[in-house]
């Protein structure tokens, strides 16, 4: 049945269907309107609550910027959560020993770049499928984060650090939100306005054609992994500052949230498509759902069920909306 329908739209190959680029915005609005209507008395639409949502989703949103590049290039990076945790540990330890913010930042981001390079190396030079390579690396990195302090958390007392990257505000807006905005501007620019963005999309869309067109596909993949590592490590810095500590368990499971945000945002897992701003919408959408269900006073079991239902129904609804429009 669908075969024929699809056929009609020249979208026979389901694999080639671009998960529609705009669906996330529609879902976003519908979900937001729904919760605004039902949860207004519980404070859902309070500006403080909206700020909370943005703040809570900052780390996933930031990792999803690079995640869009990764998925657009046809790869997958499961290490992001572990990299964030390890970076938080590194930053906390560096601050403990030297109290130098710069050094903490440099070491943290350098670790992210290193982790990304290793992933990239495994994928491009050794030819491992990125799923296996990054799954293995996730274990290595998370284990190392546990190992260095034997699972103990490391407190961070540097107030300037905590303030700049975690709990501070600027003009009444959380620094987490500001960092997110800054990085999104950078991410959107690179993705949409530089040739690198095109090369990423071409590599993911058809690696052979991209190679035949003179694109250094391996270098593109390498860069994308390094970028992913560095964005994840920046998210780790934010985690550390927000929680005023490094802890090995930070960002556990974030890899899936990031993929979900990116895919909700319009990317196809097969590569070749993606939208950075869509990923932001995807990430915030999930944050809204989480937040609203807490406000609604549901038990975690209920929250889990309803969250799943909303994701499925929302995605389906927007899918139909898109089909109608055509």
């Amino acid at each position: 049945m669908r075969f024929k329908k699809a056929g009609n739209n020249m979208k026979i190959s389901l694999k080639t269907i671009q998960w529609n680029k705009f669906m996330v915005y529609i879902v976003f609005l519908v979900v937001f309107a729904l919760f605004s209507a039902t949860l207004a008395d519980k404070g859902f639409v309070d500006s403080r609550n909206i700020m909370n949502i943005l703040r809570q989703t900052a780390m996933i949103s930031i990792m999803a910027i690079a995640g869009t590049f990764v998925i657009a290039s046809g790869q997958i990076d499961l290490t992001v959560g572990a990299v964030a945790a390890m970076t938080a540990m590194i930053a906390a330890l560096v601050l403990e020993r030297t109290n130098s913010i710069i050094l903490a930042l440099v070491c943290g981001l350098a670790f992210g770049a290193l982790a990304g390079s290793v992933n990239g190396f495994l994928v491009t030079k050794w030819g491992l499928p990125s799923f296996l390579a990054t799954m293995g690396m996730m274990s290595v990195i998370r284990g190392s984060a546990m190992w260095i302090t034997n699972t103990a958390a490391v407190p961070i007392k540097n107030f300037a650090f905590n303030n700049t990257f975690g709990i501070g505000t600027l003009g009444g807006i959380s620094v987490l939100i500001l960092w997110t905005i800054v990085l999104y501007i950078v991410g959107i620019y690179i993705f949409n306005k530089t040739s690198f963005g095109r090369h990423v999309l071409a590599t993911g869309g058809n690696e052979v054609s991209a190679g035949y067109s003179g694109i250094k596909t391996n270098r593109v993949k390498m860069m994308v992994f390094i970028m992913s590592g560095m964005f994840a490590s920046f998210a780790g810095i934010l985690y550390a500052a927000r929680m005023q500590a490094g802890r090995f368990s930070f960002g556990d499971g974030d890899e899936l949230s990031v993929i979900a945000a990116v895919v909700l945002g319009g990317a196809s897992m097969g590569g070749g498509t993606g939208s950075v701003i869509g990923a932001l919408a995807g990430s915030i959408l999930m944050g809204i759902i989480n937040n609203a269900l807490i406000l609604a006073g549901l038990s975690t079991a209920q929250q889990t069920v309803v969250k799943g239902l909303i994701i499925v129904i929302a995605v389906a609804l927007s899918n139909f909306a898109q089909k109608k429009k055509r």
Binding site: N49, T151, P155, Q244, A245, L295
Partner: protein
């Protein structure tokens, strides 16, 4: 499902309900005086204090001559509680000349713990120290361990249907009920018996956390009737606790204090309060993690009801030695709950971790 985190001592469950009733019935909600043990044993045994345990030099030599091997199976290995307990175990076993051949971490999955037990058995240990991730689901696997003649010592809880002296040597528990009372008292006293508070609780049916929450609630209701619990919010993943706290303080901007189920979620609560600029909201919790110790010292957290995991480890190792020696072991040993606040933080840290208070803690206090 990824990232479902559970507390550091989640000893489930199905028979937990029964235990709780007994516990609360007998121990009641008297004020927690240091050292008095409020919890009852798995089969209603009254607790024997860990301090009463000991070995003579002769006995130690005898154990050393046996070249025994011990294995340890944790439900979860990723926190200060298990690290510290493991340290206590290892230190004591080393003194006794017992080799620790394997340590496993089931990451809260009973199915994984069953595998771990099987694997550890391949190492032919004489002693197994463990905390059952789920007393129902792991009972059969522990029974097989017991059947193989391995001396079993439990932390905090025992599998369903197990009897001390028959299937296992003894169980060493922290006083979770007493800890809950301490956490309630910390808030009650700080608020002068009057105010509006919130509870951020772990929404999974676990023996240990159930006990804490019940003690907290009961103490509040009976001892501080003018304190109103205006918001209760559940979490399952400690990384989510901050999101929950955000919602709580947005809905209740005039809240006076928050109790969090243990130290890691409490850190999330603290981070939310800081971000909201609500620095006068009081926090109490359970367990003296490093971060919370620092915050207590700095005065941002009222205090905690602390467990003494290192002592627990020492007691477990000692009890194992009892069994090897054929010495009669008390069926239920408890390590008392310890009230920690800014006034005694340095000593408390030393008590809990058996190391002198680190410089950052001393600095934080000043």
């Amino acid at each position: 499902a990824c990232g479902t985190e559970q507390p550091e001592t989640p000893v489930d469950t199905t028979n937990g309900a029964g235990q709780q009733t007994e516990t609360s019935g007998s121990a009641g909600s008297t004020a927690a005086e240091d050292g008095e043990i409020k919890s009852l044993g798995p089969n209603g045994e009254t607790a024997v204090s860990a301090e009463t345990l000991g070995l003579t030099d002769e006995e130690i030599e005898q154990i050393k001559a046996g070249n025994y091997k011990a294995a340890i199976s944790f439900h979860y290995g990723g926190n200060d509680w298990s690290a510290s307990q493991l340290q206590g175990l290892k230190d004591t076993f080393e003194k006794l000349g017992i080799e620790v051949v394997g340590v496993t971490d089931a990451n809260f999955a009973p199915e994984r713990q069953v595998s771990d037990l099987e694997t550890l058995m391949a190492l032919k240990p004489d002693i197994m120290v463990s905390i059952p991730t789920d007393p129902t689901a792991t009972a059969d696997a522990f029974q097989r361990v017991a059947d193989a003649g391995v001396k079993l010592v439990f932390m905090d809880n025992v599998p369903n249907g197990f009897e001390a002296g028959k299937n296992y040597v003894s169980a060493v528990s922290a006083d979770n009920y007493g800890n809950g009372i301490i956490a309630a008292d910390l808030i009650g006293e700080a608020l002068g018996g009057k105010g509006r508070i919130g509870v951020v609780y772990f929404d999974v049916d676990f023996f240990v956390t159930n006990q804490r929450l019940e003690a907290f609630d009961r103490t509040m209701a009976e001892k501080y009737p003018d304190i109103e619990i205006v918001s209760r919010m559940p979490f399952q993943d400690t990384n989510e606790a901050s999101n929950v706290a955000d919602a709580m303080i947005t809905q209740n901007p005039t809240i006076d204090a928050i109790f969090a189920h243990w130290d890691v979620p409490a850190e999330g609560v603290l981070s939310s309060l800081r971000a909201a600029g609500m620095n006068d909201v009081k926090i109490s919790t359970i367990d003296l993690g490093n971060n919370i110790a620092k915050e207590i010292a700095a005065g941002s957290v009222l205090g905690v009801g602390a467990q003494l995991p290192y002592d627990q480890g020492v007691a477990e190792a000692t009890l194992a030695a009892y069994a090897l020696l054929g010495k009669e072991a008390p069926p239920y040993v408890a390590v008392p709950a310890k009230r920690v606040d800014q006034s005694n933080i340095l000593e408390a840290y030393e008590d809990v971790y058996k190391v002198s208070a680190p410089s950052w803690l001393v600095e934080a206090k000043n």
